[in-house]
Symmetry: C2
Subunit: 186 residues, 2 copies
Amino acid sequence: MERPRRADARRNEESLLEAAAAAFVASGVEAPVRDIAARAGVGTGTIYRHFPTRADLIIAVYRHQVDACAEAGPALLAGGATPHTALARWIDLFVDFLVTKHGLAAVLQSDNAGFEALHAYFLDRLLPVCAELLDAAAASGEIRSDVEAYALMRGVGNLCIGADSDPRYDARRLVGLLVAGLRQAD
Amino acid sequence: MERPRRADARRNEESLLEAAAAAFVASGVEAPVRDIAARAGVGTGTIYRHFPTRADLIIAVYRHQVDACAEAGPALLAGGATPHTALARWIDLFVDFLVTKHGLAAVLQSDNAGFEALHAYFLDRLLPVCAELLDAAAASGEIRSDVEAYALMRGVGNLCIGADSDPRYDARRLVGLLVAGLRQAD
DNA sequence: GAGGAAGCGGAACCTTGTTCCGTTAACGAT
DNA sequence: ATCGTTAACGGAACAAGGTTCCGCTTCCTC
């Protein structure tokens, strides 16, 4: 837990996380590294000492919330609802998370080199959870069983792109349609 | 139709369109302007004389195919199928178009400044068509009537992002689920 | 065949991510 | 308390991408 050895290093890492979170709220996840460094009162080099790449900084900022989402999956399954309901609720959580983070969904799916780490982190953490929920719903016969968790997660993520900043586009409703579309005869 | 007055200008515009199309096939829609200029054997300045921005070049390259897609809509409605089937088929056309153009879907939804023109062109041309199909299907009672054409098009476009370059992600199937999800009681 | 302007090329500029390296200052040992 | 080592810092510099600028070329017209 105590990764940085020197006191100033620990302090700077903390400032950076705070500054990045603030910048992401203010200007979206695509806030320039220089802006974040300026907010934190450090040089750009310091960012790269703590976070090898911008994607790693993003991961660090959202790690807690992603983990919380991952942990909510089993809890929903254990709760009384049917597996399909549990799946739908979990996806709602995921969508809420994505939609409230300016531009995160876009960056998640971006095939620009440099964001594989981000993509991979989300997948590592959330894919197993989604697969568990999906399998349970398929096993109960509520949904078709020919959709992979990966495709579903990615589709949901894609639908969340640009969900803010356009009142005409309601990602939540479309995700709802997609999940509803899962209920079909095999 | 004869916009450029000088012969060399007309020739260059033609070369640029060809070079851009080739570059888009080879490296995706995000091919650097410099590469396209080099392919066409012109300077970068020449690109910007003919196409004020990269987005305008993209529009010019795909204009014909977008128009074809737009014109297919009424034809499908006039054909014998039910409105929902016509809508589904038209969306298939749209998806095929997006999926075969490396990265076009991503750029279409990108909120990066500079691509509004592209977004607007697609919307101007295709939104009325989609709305017509959607209204017909809603009027026939086949689908719920609380989904706007804009949201649907955007959702479909979003689902197509990254559809190439990942065999695990089948955009067509997910779009199918989404369209299936439209068939619901109001 | 000249003159003028339309058009051209590509260097230069801006922004953004990332690297590099000379300098600073934290901290363990004395 | 001081010193020396070295982790850590800051920000200039680099790369890549879009866009702008402007001196030169070349086409068209008279």
